[in-house]
Subunit: 130 residues, 2 copies
Protein backbone atom coordinates (compact mmCIF):
# COMPACT_ATOMS: atom_id res chain seq x y z
CA UNK A 1 0.00 0.00 0.00
CA UNK A 2 1.29 3.43 -0.80
CA UNK A 3 -0.28 5.84 1.65
CA UNK A 4 0.50 5.40 5.30
CA UNK A 5 -1.07 6.93 8.34
CA UNK A 6 0.06 10.50 8.03
CA UNK A 7 -1.17 12.29 11.14
CA UNK A 8 -2.15 15.53 9.34
CA UNK A 9 -4.85 17.10 11.44
CA UNK A 10 -6.08 19.06 8.46
CA UNK A 11 -8.27 21.20 10.62
CA UNK A 12 -5.24 22.68 12.28
CA UNK A 13 -3.91 24.36 9.17
CA UNK A 14 -7.34 25.74 8.37
CA UNK A 15 -7.71 27.34 11.77
CA UNK A 16 -7.73 31.06 12.48
CA UNK A 17 -8.26 32.05 8.84
CA UNK A 18 -10.71 34.90 8.53
CA UNK A 19 -11.86 33.95 5.00
CA UNK A 20 -13.69 37.23 4.61
CA UNK A 21 -10.80 39.47 5.55
CA UNK A 22 -8.29 38.73 2.83
CA UNK A 23 -8.25 36.46 -0.23
CA UNK A 24 -7.32 32.87 0.50
CA UNK A 25 -4.32 31.38 -1.24
CA UNK A 26 -4.73 28.22 -3.26
CA UNK A 27 -3.07 26.26 -0.47
CA UNK A 28 -5.25 27.63 2.29
CA UNK A 29 -8.34 27.04 0.22
CA UNK A 30 -7.33 23.45 -0.46
CA UNK A 31 -6.69 22.77 3.22
CA UNK A 32 -9.95 24.29 4.31
CA UNK A 33 -11.91 22.51 1.60
CA UNK A 34 -10.55 19.20 2.83
CA UNK A 35 -12.13 19.66 6.23
CA UNK A 36 -15.33 21.03 4.77
CA UNK A 37 -15.65 18.16 2.33
CA UNK A 38 -15.48 15.82 5.30
CA UNK A 39 -18.47 17.58 6.86
CA UNK A 40 -20.38 18.21 3.66
CA UNK A 41 -22.07 14.83 3.57
CA UNK A 42 -25.48 13.99 4.99
CA UNK A 43 -24.32 10.69 6.43
CA UNK A 44 -21.32 12.25 8.14
CA UNK A 45 -23.35 15.15 9.45
CA UNK A 46 -25.73 12.70 11.05
CA UNK A 47 -22.80 10.73 12.41
CA UNK A 48 -21.39 13.85 14.05
CA UNK A 49 -24.71 14.71 15.63
CA UNK A 50 -25.36 11.13 16.67
CA UNK A 51 -22.00 10.85 18.37
CA UNK A 52 -22.35 14.23 20.04
CA UNK A 53 -25.85 13.50 21.30
CA UNK A 54 -25.00 10.00 22.49
CA UNK A 55 -24.66 9.23 26.16
CA UNK A 56 -21.13 10.00 27.33
CA UNK A 57 -20.32 11.83 24.11
CA UNK A 58 -19.12 8.69 22.42
CA UNK A 59 -20.66 5.85 20.46
CA UNK A 60 -19.58 2.63 18.78
CA UNK A 61 -20.25 1.56 15.21
CA UNK A 62 -23.02 -0.81 16.18
CA UNK A 63 -24.94 2.11 17.67
CA UNK A 64 -24.69 4.11 14.46
CA UNK A 65 -25.55 1.68 11.68
CA UNK A 66 -29.23 1.41 12.51
CA UNK A 67 -30.16 5.10 12.78
CA UNK A 68 -28.36 5.87 9.54
CA UNK A 69 -29.77 2.99 7.53
CA UNK A 70 -26.37 2.32 6.00
CA UNK A 71 -24.28 -0.82 5.94
CA UNK A 72 -21.54 -1.36 8.48
CA UNK A 73 -18.65 -0.91 6.00
CA UNK A 74 -20.12 2.36 4.81
CA UNK A 75 -20.46 3.69 8.33
CA UNK A 76 -16.94 2.59 9.09
CA UNK A 77 -15.74 4.40 5.99
CA UNK A 78 -17.47 7.64 6.96
CA UNK A 79 -16.07 7.44 10.46
CA UNK A 80 -12.59 7.02 9.06
CA UNK A 81 -13.04 10.14 6.95
CA UNK A 82 -14.13 12.12 9.99
CA UNK A 83 -11.24 10.80 12.06
CA UNK A 84 -8.75 11.62 9.32
CA UNK A 85 -10.16 15.13 9.14
CA UNK A 86 -9.50 15.57 12.84
CA UNK A 87 -13.13 15.90 13.78
CA UNK A 88 -13.63 12.57 15.56
CA UNK A 89 -11.43 10.57 17.89
CA UNK A 90 -11.33 6.80 17.89
CA UNK A 91 -10.67 4.70 20.97
CA UNK A 92 -10.80 0.92 20.96
CA UNK A 93 -11.96 -0.67 24.19
CA UNK A 94 -12.22 -4.42 24.03
CA UNK A 95 -14.22 -5.42 21.00
CA UNK A 96 -15.89 -2.08 20.57
CA UNK A 97 -14.49 1.08 18.98
CA UNK A 98 -15.78 4.26 20.56
CA UNK A 99 -15.90 7.50 18.62
CA UNK A 100 -16.15 10.95 20.17
CA UNK A 101 -16.04 14.57 19.05
CA UNK A 102 -12.63 16.22 19.10
CA UNK A 103 -13.18 19.24 21.34
CA UNK A 104 -12.90 22.50 19.46
CA UNK A 105 -12.62 20.98 16.00
CA UNK A 106 -16.07 21.98 14.83
CA UNK A 107 -15.71 25.35 16.50
CA UNK A 108 -12.49 25.96 14.61
CA UNK A 109 -14.31 25.41 11.33
CA UNK A 110 -17.13 27.66 12.51
CA UNK A 111 -14.61 30.36 13.30
CA UNK A 112 -13.21 30.31 9.80
CA UNK A 113 -16.63 30.72 8.26
CA UNK A 114 -17.85 33.34 10.68
CA UNK A 115 -17.51 36.92 9.51
CA UNK A 116 -16.80 37.98 13.07
CA UNK A 117 -13.43 37.04 14.41
CA UNK A 118 -14.15 34.48 17.08
CA UNK A 119 -17.26 33.55 19.04
CA UNK A 120 -16.99 34.39 22.69
CA UNK A 121 -16.27 31.01 24.23
CA UNK A 122 -16.38 28.61 21.36
CA UNK A 123 -12.91 27.38 20.49
CA UNK A 124 -11.65 29.02 23.59
CA UNK A 125 -9.00 27.09 25.42
CA UNK A 126 -7.87 25.00 22.46
CA UNK A 127 -4.23 25.96 22.07
CA UNK A 128 -3.53 22.76 20.15
CA UNK A 129 -5.16 24.32 17.14
CA UNK A 130 -4.74 28.04 17.35
Amino acid sequence: MSVDVLPSPTVATACCAPLVRQPLSAEEAADLSRVLKAIADPARLRLLSLVAAHAGGEACVCDLTEPLGLSQPTVSHHLKVLVDAGLLSREKRGVWAYFGLVPGALDAVANVLSTTGAPAGAADGQPSFC
Copy 2:
Protein backbone atom coordinates in the same frame (compact mmCIF):
# COMPACT_ATOMS: atom_id res chain seq x y z
CA MET B 1 -36.87 14.90 -15.62
CA SER B 2 -38.16 14.82 -12.11
CA VAL B 3 -36.44 17.69 -10.37
CA ASP B 4 -37.27 21.21 -11.44
CA VAL B 5 -35.84 24.55 -10.50
CA LEU B 6 -37.09 24.86 -6.97
CA PRO B 7 -35.90 28.18 -5.54
CA SER B 8 -34.99 26.70 -2.15
CA PRO B 9 -32.66 29.02 -0.27
CA THR B 10 -31.14 25.97 1.28
CA VAL B 11 -29.29 27.91 3.90
CA ALA B 12 -32.52 29.03 5.46
CA THR B 13 -33.70 25.56 6.35
CA ALA B 14 -30.32 24.66 7.75
CA CYS B 15 -30.29 27.60 10.09
CA CYS B 16 -30.57 27.42 13.85
CA ALA B 17 -29.84 23.71 14.02
CA PRO B 18 -27.55 22.86 16.91
CA LEU B 19 -26.07 19.76 15.24
CA VAL B 20 -24.43 18.69 18.47
CA ARG B 21 -27.52 18.90 20.63
CA GLN B 22 -29.77 16.29 19.06
CA PRO B 23 -29.41 13.85 16.15
CA LEU B 24 -30.17 15.36 12.77
CA SER B 25 -32.92 13.85 10.69
CA ALA B 26 -32.14 12.67 7.19
CA GLU B 27 -33.89 15.73 5.80
CA GLU B 28 -32.03 18.22 7.97
CA ALA B 29 -28.74 16.55 7.16
CA ALA B 30 -29.47 16.68 3.43
CA ASP B 31 -30.36 20.37 3.59
CA LEU B 32 -27.30 21.27 5.58
CA SER B 33 -25.03 19.20 3.38
CA ARG B 34 -26.26 21.09 0.32
CA VAL B 35 -24.97 24.36 1.72
CA LEU B 36 -21.76 22.82 2.95
CA LYS B 37 -21.09 21.15 -0.39
CA ALA B 38 -21.34 24.59 -1.96
CA ILE B 39 -18.60 25.85 0.35
CA ALA B 40 -16.47 22.72 0.35
CA ASP B 41 -14.57 23.56 -2.81
CA PRO B 42 -11.24 25.36 -3.03
CA ALA B 43 -12.32 27.48 -5.99
CA ARG B 44 -15.54 28.55 -4.31
CA LEU B 45 -13.81 29.27 -1.03
CA ARG B 46 -11.43 31.56 -2.84
CA LEU B 47 -14.34 33.16 -4.66
CA LEU B 48 -16.05 33.91 -1.37
CA SER B 49 -12.93 35.45 0.10
CA LEU B 50 -12.16 37.37 -3.08
CA VAL B 51 -15.64 38.85 -3.21
CA ALA B 52 -15.62 39.67 0.48
CA ALA B 53 -12.23 41.32 0.36
CA HIS B 54 -12.95 43.23 -2.84
CA ALA B 55 -13.56 46.95 -2.76
CA GLY B 56 -17.19 47.68 -2.03
CA GLY B 57 -17.85 44.07 -1.06
CA GLU B 58 -18.71 43.10 -4.60
CA ALA B 59 -16.86 41.97 -7.70
CA CYS B 60 -17.61 41.04 -11.29
CA VAL B 61 -16.56 37.89 -13.10
CA CYS B 62 -13.74 39.59 -14.96
CA ASP B 63 -12.13 40.47 -11.62
CA LEU B 64 -12.23 36.85 -10.45
CA THR B 65 -11.00 34.80 -13.38
CA GLU B 66 -7.38 35.91 -13.16
CA PRO B 67 -6.69 35.36 -9.45
CA LEU B 68 -8.25 31.92 -9.62
CA GLY B 69 -6.53 30.75 -12.77
CA LEU B 70 -9.72 29.19 -14.05
CA SER B 71 -11.62 29.72 -17.25
CA GLN B 72 -14.53 32.13 -17.40
CA PRO B 73 -17.23 29.43 -17.77
CA THR B 74 -15.85 27.61 -14.76
CA VAL B 75 -15.89 30.74 -12.63
CA SER B 76 -19.41 31.49 -13.78
CA HIS B 77 -20.43 27.97 -12.84
CA HIS B 78 -18.99 28.26 -9.35
CA LEU B 79 -20.65 31.61 -8.84
CA LYS B 80 -23.98 30.12 -9.83
CA VAL B 81 -23.54 27.37 -7.27
CA LEU B 82 -22.84 29.93 -4.56
CA VAL B 83 -25.81 32.05 -5.59
CA ASP B 84 -28.11 29.02 -5.62
CA ALA B 85 -26.89 28.11 -2.14
CA GLY B 86 -27.90 31.55 -0.90
CA LEU B 87 -24.36 32.62 -0.09
CA LEU B 88 -23.81 35.16 -2.86
CA SER B 89 -26.10 37.75 -4.42
CA ARG B 90 -25.97 38.62 -8.09
CA GLU B 91 -26.78 42.07 -9.45
CA LYS B 92 -26.43 42.93 -13.10
CA ARG B 93 -25.48 46.53 -13.82
CA GLY B 94 -25.01 47.25 -17.48
CA VAL B 95 -22.72 44.69 -19.01
CA TRP B 96 -21.18 43.60 -15.75
CA ALA B 97 -22.59 41.25 -13.13
CA TYR B 98 -21.62 42.13 -9.60
CA PHE B 99 -21.53 39.48 -6.89
CA GLY B 100 -21.62 40.16 -3.17
CA LEU B 101 -21.84 38.23 0.08
CA VAL B 102 -25.34 37.66 1.40
CA PRO B 103 -25.16 39.15 4.92
CA GLY B 104 -25.49 36.52 7.62
CA ALA B 105 -25.38 33.52 5.32
CA LEU B 106 -21.91 32.37 6.28
CA ASP B 107 -22.60 33.16 9.91
CA ALA B 108 -25.69 30.97 9.81
CA VAL B 109 -23.59 28.06 8.66
CA ALA B 110 -21.01 28.83 11.33
CA ASN B 111 -23.76 28.80 13.95
CA VAL B 112 -24.87 25.33 12.96
CA LEU B 113 -21.37 23.96 13.27
CA SER B 114 -20.51 25.75 16.47
CA THR B 115 -20.99 23.75 19.64
CA THR B 116 -22.02 26.89 21.46
CA GLY B 117 -25.41 28.25 20.59
CA ALA B 118 -24.69 31.49 18.76
CA PRO B 119 -21.68 33.77 18.52
CA ALA B 120 -22.24 37.10 20.17
CA GLY B 121 -22.93 39.38 17.24
CA ALA B 122 -22.48 37.17 14.23
CA ALA B 123 -25.81 36.39 12.59
CA ASP B 124 -27.40 38.93 14.83
CA GLY B 125 -30.12 40.94 13.21
CA GLN B 126 -30.83 38.49 10.42
CA PRO B 127 -34.49 37.69 10.93
CA SER B 128 -34.83 36.45 7.36
CA PHE B 129 -33.01 33.31 8.35
CA CYS B 130 -33.62 32.64 12.00
